[in-house]
């Protein structure tokens, strides 16, 4: 297993429970991936650490975990994969599961939004870090913001940055984070600027309604065209209020950019080493979008989690279990693992 995030942990746990010998290689010092960064999760507001503890029950004592492991080369010798690491170790495997996840879009690339230029423009991940620290939310000069803006689709659904896909989690994350801000600071006014609100999950719409009804969070349909800094370091937003059919300008004390998913550096590197195919959006290409969702173009190499597409935690966990079943049938040489579909897409 390459990558010890949610997907790597849950696949490992299931394969280990089926008595396979599982080795989990993680480049960081801890397992958990992005889950380590998110304090509370949509749509339940459960602590991320609780999900991590759950996943750990299946991994601890059952799976050989090797953290701080950087993979340098992978070779195929007969039926086995030989995985070499920077520390000079070599691991042998009959099958490889790639769970290298995603990285966050670098908001500096969207220069007109001022990230890295204006001090009161932050990303959703930085807001999570503020929540995790448990300190009061603050602007660069330490004030509680009176008005905040959340900008949806930063680095997603945008041909100008080369990412045409929707990142799937950021609409509901904006709503979740806005609610968290309101719980801590009810006097802060919040405005979310969106193109479409994608509240597709079972409980997401209810969260959206709660955001309006209970917390008075405001939504403006219009994409931010540019942000500039006012003399007092607040941020001036310019967007069209498309529902009024008029341009709108508004100052906010703190601006949060909902950054999207991009394929991780690890995904790119491991893909190259194994000769894996990438899709149009640069994530791994699965053999078929409907059916062979964990299967790669290289026999014996499989995928799970956000390395193939933006996914929620629920999606990643489900996908990980599916990958475990797919690998087990492959290792057992079961007939169903040889199934194909006409016109693979």
């Amino acid at each position: 297993m390459i990558g010890g995030g949610i997907a790597g942990m849950e696949s490992s746990a299931h394969l280990a429970a089926m008595d396979y010998e599982v080795t989990l290689l993680e480049k960081d010092s801890r397992l958990g991936g992005k889950l380590l960064k998110w304090e509370r999760l949509f749509p339940t507001m459960r602590l991320g650490s609780e999900v991590l503890a759950f996943l750990n029950q299946g991994v601890e004592k059952h799976v050989a975990v090797h953290c701080n492991t950087e993979i340098t080369e992978i070779h195929r010798k007969a039926a086995a994969f030989h995985i070499h690491t920077a520390t000079g170790r070599t691991y042998e495997a009959d099958a490889v599961l790639v769970t290298t996840g995603y990285d966050l879009f670098d908001a500096r690339k969207k220069e007109e939004y001022g990230y890295g230029i204006y001090e009161n423009v932050i990303t959703s991940a930085e807001l999570e870090a503020m929540f995790a620290e448990g300190k009061p939310l603050h602007t660069a000069d330490g004030r509680i913001p009176k008005r905040m803006g959340f900008i949806h689709c930063v680095g997603s659904r945008d041909e100008k940055v080369g990412n045409v896909y929707c990142s799937k989690v950021c609409c509901v994350t904006a709503v979740k984070q806005a609610i968290e801000v309101k719980e801590k600071h009810p006097e802060t006014d919040i405005y979310c600027f969106y193109m479409d609100l994608r509240m597709y999950g079972m409980h997401f719409e209810a969260m959206y309604k709660q955001a309006q009804e209970k917390y008075g969070i405001n939504f403006i349909r219009g994409r931010l065209s540019e942000a500039c800094e006012n003399i007092d370091h607040s941020v001036l937003l310019k967007a069209e209020d498309t529902l009024s059919g008029r341009p709108l300008k508004m100052s906010v004390d703190l601006l949060v950019l909902m950054v999207g998913f991009i394929p991780s550096e690890g995904t790119k590197a491991v893909g190259k080493m194994l000769g894996l195919e990438f899709g149009v959006n640069r994530f791994f290409k699965t053999c078929d979008q409907h059916t062979l969702t964990n299967v790669s173009n290289v026999p014996g190499v499989f995928f799970a989690g956000a390395c193939t597409a933006p996914k929620t935690i629920t999606n990643s966990i489900t996908d990980a279990r599916a990958a475990a079943a797919t690998i087990a049938t492959y290792l057992e040489g079961k007939a169903i693992s040889a199934r194909t579909i006409e016109n693979q897409k």
Binding site: K209, Q212, E213, G216, N218, F219, R221, D241, L243, S244, R246, P247, L248, K249, M250, S251
Partner: protein, 107 residues
């Protein structure tokens, strides 16, 4: 003033920082379901008044949220309080009470 053949255009931008939204806050207090509108337009499409005039409850709500009160009172007066839109609104906005709240707080 001599006519130079040009004139100054009025700024069309919604200046959120300058707009006074106190009447909107009062409306929300009187009718809290105001907040629930998702601007779907169902009310406008089903409204008999809206089918013959440019009256639109959806547009009125959106304008109020931004603090645009121009023409709102005249518009609110066009509603016949028939309640048709209330039966159709997917978000449970109490539209008739809302129109009454608008009439109360906007002169």
């Amino acid at each position: 003033m001599p006519d130079f053949g040009f004139k100054l255009q009025k700024d069309r931008q919604i200046d959120f920082d300058a707009n006074d939204r106190s009447a909107t806050r009062a409306i929300i207090e009187t009718e809290p379901t105001f907040r629930l509108c998702i601007a779907c337009g169902t009310c406008t499409a089903c409204c008999s008044a809206g089918n013959f005039t440019d009256f639109s409850l959806r547009r009125m709500i959106t304008g109020l949220k931004r603090g645009n009160y121009e023409g709102v009172r005249a518009m609110a007066d066009q509603c016949m309080l028939c309640g048709k839109c209330q039966m159709l609104c997917p978000r449970g906005v109490s539209t008739r009470k809302l129109v009454l709240a608008i009439r109360k707080h906007i002169r």
